[in-house]
Assembly symmetry: C2
Homo-oligomer: 187 residues x 2
DNA sequence: GTCTATATTTCGATAGAC
DNA sequence: GTCTATCGAAATATAGAC
């Protein structure tokens, strides 16, 4: 009888995500993952092609989580309120998994499948369309996404160094963006 | 008579910046820099403490360049026009040096000196104050910066995958943000 | 499927002669 | 200041026994 399974792909990905948050992308080594799941490093290669593959799996799992988080948010009747809730949900997610969040937006060979992307961006597109109209939905969604992701990325990287209250600044951005997108279309 | 200088700190940093753009941060090895400046790798350590130090110098030089680029932009009389010019200037800079630009916003130990930061952000603060008023200058500047940087970062990382014209989306964001910040302040 | 052992590669950094 | 020579430290990945 062969040796029974001592780990699983799910456990490996989960361990990888924990290590990623605790030690950063550079700290995500095959050895560290093996230690955490309780096997030797070479055994990981039975379930994962290589490290890049593991990073990709972790990124996709994180992206999927974000999508599910947003799916349960901002589906109300008031698009202005929905936008605010979506924006706060994204930021909360990023605060909970800062490294994983930033990993999503890193340039890499095999980006997220367009399917997964539509799933995660869906709620934002809906709100954008309700606010700015069908014709400007994509541009409005990109404005929202760019602002939120930019704010969060800068916050996480410590780029806001001039003091002030960041929570307040985020709410300020929400309020102004909402007014801007809900306002009369240009021209 | 000792051997004459065969390179300089400036040449090393300049070579590092070129390599960074051509081969990414991982490709920025001491060996690659040495090859490009025409010395052996150990010689670099006479002018640079270690690799991290070199990366820091490159980041600061890039940040300085960005600041100078913005200093000559958007100092006109019309804050709406100034904001548009500033936003376009940042994006043009990022397109010219994508890796260096993203390096600026990476979390690192010794962030840019507050002095260098004020220099680079100065023009944005001025425009924000002219648009949104003194009381909301910082928040407005952060909204602008977050949106522009978020848009550019996502663009550079290939995160915009749903088609559409990105130039147009950027102009859309400029127009809407300008209206939003110049509009009546939220009481 | 897991293990031990090891190959490979790469890179950062130092020592000491000239 | 530059060089040759080399160390030392990782980390990825493979081979083959059990």
């Amino acid at each position: 009888m062969p040796t029974p399974d001592r780990t699983s792909l799910g456990a490996i990905v989960a361990a990888g995500r924990d290590i990623l948050e605790a030690a950063g992308l550079a700290g995500l080594t095959m050895q560290a993952v093996a230690d955490r799941v309780g096997v030797r490093a070479p055994s990981l290669y039975k379930r994962v092609r290589n490290r890049d593959d593991l990073v990709r799996l972790i990124t996709e799992a994180t992206f999927q989580d974000l999508g599910e988080q947003l799916a349960t948010t901002g589906a109300g009747l008031d698009p202005r309120r929905d936008l605010a809730e979506l924006a706060r949900a994204v930021r909360a997610f990023a605060h909970a998994r800062p490294v994983g969040y930033q990993l999503i937006f890193m340039p890499r060979a095999g980006g997220p499948s367009t399917e997964a992307l539509r799933h995660a961006v869906g709620p934002v597109m809906r709100v954008a369309e309700n606010l700015a109209g069908e014709q400007h939905a994509l541009e409005a969604a990109r404005t929202i996404t760019a602002w939120a992701n930019g704010f969060i990325s800068m916050e996480l990287s410590g780029a806001f160094q001039l003091g002030g209250d960041l929570d307040q600044a985020y709410e300020f951005g929400i309020a102004r963006l909402t007014d801007a997108l809900a306002g009369p279309p240009p021209r």
